[in-house]
Subunit: 216 residues, 2 copies
């Protein structure tokens, strides 16, 4: 979902409106949000993605020495409910949908995903929306990836897992999916011992590949 089919421009804009150094503030917020999903999972603890995002916001505010009002914090948090579809995702998913059932597998809470997909006008594309909420642990735990074969009733060897997040592709590959890394920018792959089966720069490039290409 986030960063793969939909961008977080609304979050970036909200940071630009309130933070003294928006780029640094936004990047700290996002990196702490992910770090907290890792840490909580490792500690056998769980709060939903909304709550983890709020914890990360509190940290970023304190670390940056910002003094936001309750209203500003609400606006920052609510920007997470306004993801916008990447243009290439919108186009590519239309083509992919003709040939494959599609599903979302995301750290997001069910409410965030429901509202976000609707806002991004992507809700019609997916046959199933799977949230980590069901297993109460975050990516890249294999318990999360296991949700897909279980809930979709398809063996994992028949699933192509697509993400822009390097760690997510690595985790999915380790679990046993075919994987495709959507690399829109000059990102470096985390060298964690697994390499994606496919690397493309957009969903349109992905949609131009054949089933045989993708699943070999």
């Amino acid at each position: 979902m986030y960063g793969t089919v939909a961008n977080l421009d609304a979050v970036t804009r909200a940071c630009a409106e309130f933070a003294e150094d928006p780029a640094e503030f936004g990047s700290l917020w996002r990196s702490k949000q992910l770090e907290y999903t890792f840490l909580l999972s490792l500690m056998d603890d769980y709060v939903d993605f909304w709550e983890a995002t709020l914890m990360a916001l509190e940290f970023a505010i304190d670390a940056a020495g910002e003094k936001f009002t309750k209203g500003q914090k609400d606006l920052l948090m609510n920007s997470w409910l306004r993801p916008e579809a990447y243009e290439d995702a919108y186009e590519g998913l239309q083509k992919l949908k003709r040939h494959f059932p599609l599903a979302i597998l995301s750290n997001g809470s069910p409410k965030m995903l429901r509202e976000g997909l609707k806002f991004a006008a992507l809700d019609g594309f997916f046959d199933k929306i799977l949230s980590v909420e069901k297993v109460r642990v975050f990516k890249p735990s294999p318990k999360v990836y296991e949700l897909a074969p279980t809930e979709l009733k398809v063996s994992k060897e028949k699933i192509l897992f697509v993400s822009s997040n390097s760690f997510d592709v690595v985790g999915a590959r380790k679990y046993g999916f075919h994987t495709c890394w959507i690399r829109r920018t000059e990102q470096v792959l985390d060298p964690l011992g697994e390499v994606p089966d496919h690397i493309v720069s957009s969903f349109e490039e992905l949609a131009s590949l054949t089933f045989e290409d993708l699943m070999r």
Copy 2:
């Protein structure tokens, strides 16, 4: 160990020698090193801390667009074998040692810990050196903290866990230790639902507290 009783000035100096933007390079390396320990643990995978540090170095080199020689990489890696005792740790541990058995519980591999403690002239202070190597998962997994009561043969309620790393103190507190956060700089606590029992600015301040203060 790292960042708590011994500093990483040797790593900082090695980065300063070779990297174009040493501060950014060093901070990326360190943050990726920790991130990889979290990610690998969550993926039920394990490489030792040396290997995770090397993976993080490879990422940082690629992300920063650096071209280091094999020799430069070796020098960067070997700087991790040259931790230096914080002065307050050296002083404080001397006092603490008179009253309590002391142990190290670290992400570091046994070799890194052995060499590092010797280099820092801290090897005489500790009755036991515990590495996560034994459970093949990194902090803040409860399996790591469990090593202490098991190996030291002391119940967890009788252990005071001391760290400068906020996430480590939080994980240790969640596991059930008494905890003390050594906060030498203006760090912000990760708001992950646990607060350290004690916050001090140095080991000397810690050593000035009584047993009753510490364990209540």
